[in-house]
Amino acid sequence: MKNLFYLFSLLLFSNLFGFTEVLADNGEAVLDTGDTAWIMTATALVLFMTLPGLALFYGGLVSSKNVVSALMHVIAIACLMSVLWLFGAYSIAFTDGGDLNKYLGSITEKFLFNNVEWNALSGTIPENVFFIFQLTFAVITPALMVGAYVERIKFSSVLLISGIWLFVVYAPVTHWIWGGGWLADLGVLDFAGGLVVHTTAGVSALVIAILLGNRNDFPNNVLPPHNPGLVMVGACMLWVGWFGFNGGSALAANSNAGMAMVVTHIAAATASLTWMGIEWFKNGKPGLVGLVTGTIAGLATITPASGFVDPKSAFIIGVAAGAICYYFSVLIKQTFNIDDSLDVFAVHGVGGMLGTIMVGFLANEAIGGTAGSLAQAKVQITGVVTVAVYSLIATFIIVKVVQTIIGLRVSDKDSQEGLDITSHGERGYHL
């Protein structure tokens, strides 16, 4: 999603870019069926990233006694966020907040999708399509954080933390950047969510991991991923769905969307090979889990840049993503001894921040209307720092509150037996 300024410039120069005309003869905006078709498709793709993509990615990484639990976290979050998006979160993100508009939209204005003509447009697509497309982003962001706390957290805390977080962190930050808030005013570039999605989720995940504490078996007796094949399948679904995530963020079926797909794909492939290469060199064997972790790192990193850079830059971003995220995954766990269990911070947090900064330098003016420059990079860094710090503080408070009210961890005995049976009464495999 581009910020509003960018959207405006797009409309202005649409002829230049070879767009089909989006204004009717009388000057009113009209629906474009092609754009609408694409964003509806993109919506399906992004939902598919979470359900079942992300669920499988995480499900395969945990041990077999916690697989049901990991899947459950992801889908329950998806359901709850969907309902909350309707009950005010969308409104906070995407309405005018009046005096507070720099920081927040109005929670009441589009609460329950009220006060919206059922066939209102948002650009060239129906606003209801915009609503549901954005919903899928609000769903996946807290779901990404699942990777930080699996195998030891209470299920009720998962729901409570995620629900509060949507209102306190996700919706406001979205408003800042895509809803016409202060970071949009500043001209920060975040095409599809390097800040909105990956920085918020990555930093918050780290906070949760620290406050929740390590798994009892961490770091010495943790079980290896119980099913690398599932991890790979999940990663592939994320990859395919990311075409909708980044390509859909053009909010139109045009060259901008097409280029976003190209650079997304190139960055993902390059980061995969980079990570694989590092493991091959360091361990003597290229592993599947490593390769697909590189994929996700590449995808997260290209996300903020995807509508602004060309394929060459995508290649550079891919190499950087593979190498730097690898480095951080080792750093966090080995050096800092923090059990961010499935590396949410190292992959999404670091990737999102890295990409947000890189686009400040690499943006290609022809493509996205903004040229990379030191000035732009400073704007980007401002965005990264404020979003990261805000996520950190807000999540810290949320988690502390939840901890006080209902506690965070299951008993040691329950985590030993596995959350599948103890929290959900099901067993992952009856083979």
Partner: protein, 112 residues
């Protein structure tokens, strides 16, 4: 009668079974097990973190045979399961008190 338990490397199962068939062993029971011994497990590395896999996949075969076949069976297993590398496994033997074939009710050596 004797029960012979052998714990061998997984991929040797077919060879051992062939060798046993040749000396007249008509039945056996196979279980997937995990072994711990001098052959140390390995490390799997995921995302730069090491996971130690202490237990190695092995196969356990259980064969009840007539006492006089015992030595032949042990020899056959020893010869075919051996690679000379650490972790080849063990053979143990026990006394069996009774043996019954469920289908027919036959007992003793006729049952096996």
């Amino acid at each position: 009668m004797k029960l012979i338990i052998a714990i061998i490397k997984t991929f040797k199962l077919d060879d051992v079974q062939d060798a046993l068939s040749k000396i007249g062993v008509e039945g056996m029971t196979v279980t997937e097990v995990r072994g711990f011994g001098r052959q140390k497990g390995h490390k799997e590395v995921y995302r730069g973190s090491e996971y130690s896999v202490k237990y190695l996949p092995k196969v356990k075969i259980e064969i009840v045979v007539n006492k006089k076949l015992e030595e032949k069976v042990i020899k056959a297993i020893k010869n075919t399961a051996k690679t000379g590398e650490i972790g080849d496994g063990k053979i143990f033997s026990f006394d069996v008190d009774k043996a019954i074939r469920i289908r027919t009710g036959e007992t003793g050596p006729k049952a096996i």
